[in-house]
Amino acid sequence: MSKPKVGIFGLTGCAGDQLQILNCEDELVRLAQRLDIVDWVMVRSDNDHTCRLDIAFVEGVVATERDLETLKEVRARARTLVALGTCAVWGGLPAMHNEISRETLEREVYHTQLHFLDTVEALPPTHFVPFEVKLPGCPMERHEFLRAVNALLVGTEPELPLFPVCWECKAREHLCRVVHFGEVCCGAMTRGGCGARCPSHGVACSGCRGPVEEPNYDANVTMFADRGISWVEIARKMSHFSAPVWMTQGLEQEVRREPKR
């Protein structure tokens, strides 16, 4: 494959995943040689905003009409589209509590009723267009990003682990936050790959990598409740990473699952 043309785009977000790219300090220079990065507003000022792209990376949620336009343009320009981070894959924190009306949120922050020309409900880009590769994480893990790029450069897609955080937590023999401390830990519902970072620091997982394919929300809720944690607190902790989005998604899956013969 000749040097692929690459664009890196941030929709509405914290720029954490773009920053994670810059945080690949050891690989960055070589990366810039292997990829022809033609469109990256965060890092370049003289960008080509229209050319065809072999690979496009997209970070953040769709929170404005402009985001949506950008996303659709990028999709049209790109052969392979890669979602960076939990915002792009699942909606992340900005999509938490989508049920609070935008109007209420606006009043809260701006105190007066103002006209907002194009704010829309924050939704993940994966909701609008198909993506070839999805790298979860808030922010995404550097090694997963590098592996994805390496795989794309040889013409294949990265195979990322699908197991939950508990896998890595057990593999490293951390003390389980649920078993030993009775905390609300989202590890069992959350896609692994972070090395069980939070439990390894003595902190319960808050689910920042988004859900595994078929999280058992009900069982988790029951488990925490059985340990004397209030339902409200459970819901609050589980909702951090856009639980409404994934909860509905999980429930939908539940409903759609064909009964076994």
Binding site: C14, E25, S45, D46, A63, E106, F116, A122, R197, S206
Partner: protein, 440 residues
């Protein structure tokens, strides 16, 4: 194009964090309108925090901005601990300080070397610069990485720390790791001083100069520090932290629907590295002091483009002070976890810290169950926006006066330099909402 009706539009400002543009309208040689458009989508974090438990605040508020995630974390924890009357132990205070230094090293290294320096050396990006200055870029990356390693060690992750908790840390770094970081900081200092020399040899243009009021926190001890006890201005005023809302007036601007800030007097002001040097530069010690004197021989002068050099001075300070902080930590006995016990109760607290881009305020009110009643975050970028527009206006006027024939391309480039010098962090300015760039 007739000089009587000229629009300078930078639809999408490059090499800054977040999405913003600049729009300047010049009619007959005078600048009619200057707009720093922010079209980053709003994420309403403060509203989302309402009703959340205070323990969740840091995990949520850190997502306001990645580059500043450690800073928001420390500000939020400080505010919450204030509200709960938690007294930080010495070790926790010291470790948080190290985290802030790491964040400053990372952020300043990124901004000075990767985002701003290409302007001064004539490149469109650090990627292009790497071809000509490979060693310099390699060192800059190393320094940035070092800042990240400090944040990883203390915060558990370079972006969005997870180890930082109200009252303490999940896991305290071991001495072996602290020693390793200390040694790396020590070895980074000499090459960093080389950059000070490089910067001193570069000409900084004068067309952006204009008098400005500077605001920074008075350090908590008689030294150059990023945490402070009161709000000071370059006009000699001093206010208590808790009164920040009275000192700093946030207002929405008619034409932009975006929150701006000004002092009560109505004057716009600047927060950030240059403000800190202006007010507290005399407290710097060692190599940092030497660098300050080298780069600001006449003290801090009012030219925003020099903010990049002020950041460089702070880089030297952060590395140097980081070594001292590591030594302090190494002098304390090793232990695995430290949490100050506290009781949940209703209260209101303010946390103000100096972060790479200026003074950051967090304020929370919690009820007796620990639920957040209200939250307010005032970011440096939001505070600087009005001043940025003011500087953009002055720069345009100076440039037009000095070179009547200046073309749009050159003008755009120069205006971008002004905006970039503030190192704006648009994701951070959550109060600020969009203004369609196309409207111009």
């Amino acid at each position: 194009m007739s000089p009587s009706g000229r629009n300078i539009v930078i639809p999408h400002l490059g090499r800054v964090e977040g999405h913003g543009g600049i729009f300047v309208k010049v009619v007959g040689g005078t600048v009619h309108e200057v707009n720093m458009d922010i079209f980053e989508g709003s994420r309403y974090y403060e509203a989302l925090l309402k009703g959340k438990h205070f323990l969740e605040v840091q995990g949520i508020i850190t997502r306001v901005c990645a580059i500043c995630s450690a800073n928001h974390t420390v500000a939020a924890l400080t505010a919450l601990e204030d509200a709960l009357s938690v007294r930080q132990s010495e070790r926790i205070h010291t470790l948080r300080g190290l985290l802030l230094l790491g964040a400053t090293i990372e952020s300043h290294a990124l901004h000075v070397f990767a985002l701003a320096l290409p302007d001064f050396l004539g490149f469109d990006s650090v990627i292009a610069m790497a071809a000509k200055y490979p060693d310099e870029v390699a060192f800059a990356l190393r320094l940035k990485q070092l800042g990240n390693r400090v944040q990883e060690l203390v915060g558990g992750r370079a972006v969005h720390p997870i180890n930082t908790l109200v009252g303490g840390f999940g896991k305290l770094p071991g001495h072996r790791d602290v020693r390793a970081i200390r040694d790396e900081l020590a070895s980074a200092l000499p090459p960093l001083l080389g950059f000070v020399e490089l910067a001193a040899s570069l000409d900084v243009p004068e067309w952006a100069a204009q008098p400005t009021v500077f605001v920074a926190l008075r350090p908590y001890e008689e030294a150059f520090r990023f945490r402070g006890v009161s709000i000071c201005t370059s006009r000699g005023e001093e206010f208590p932290l808790a009164a920040y809302r009275d000192v700093i007036r946030e207002f929405t601007v008619e034409h932009s629907h975006a929150k701006h800030s000004a002092l009560v007097s109505g004057e716009t002001y600047m927060v950030g590295s240059m403000a800190r040097l202006k007010l507290w530069g005399h407290l710097l010690k060692g190599r940092a002091r030497e660098s300050f004197e080298r780069l600001f021989p006449r003290g801090v002068v009012d030219n925003i483009l020099l903010n990049n050099w002020a950041q460089l001075v702070e880089l030297v300070h952060s590395v140097e002070h980081g070594i001292e902080v590591c030594d302090e930590l190494l002098g304390m006995p090793e232990c695995a976890r430290e949490m100050v016990p506290y009781e949940v109760r209703a209260g209101r607290g303010v946390g103000a810290i100096e972060v790479p881009r200026g003074t950051l305020f967090h304020e929370y009110e919690i009820d007796d169950e620990g639920l957040v009643v209200s939250a307010n975050v005032v970011t440096p970028t939001a505070q600087n926006l009005a001043n940025t527009e003011r500087d953009l206006r002055a720069a345009t006027e100076h440039l037009l006066a000095d070179h009547a024939s200046i073309d749009d391309g050159q003008l755009r480039l120069n205006l971008e330099m002004v905006a970039r010098a503030y190192d704006p962090c648009i994701s951070c300015s959550v109060h600020v909402t969009r203004l369609a760039a196309g409207e111009a």
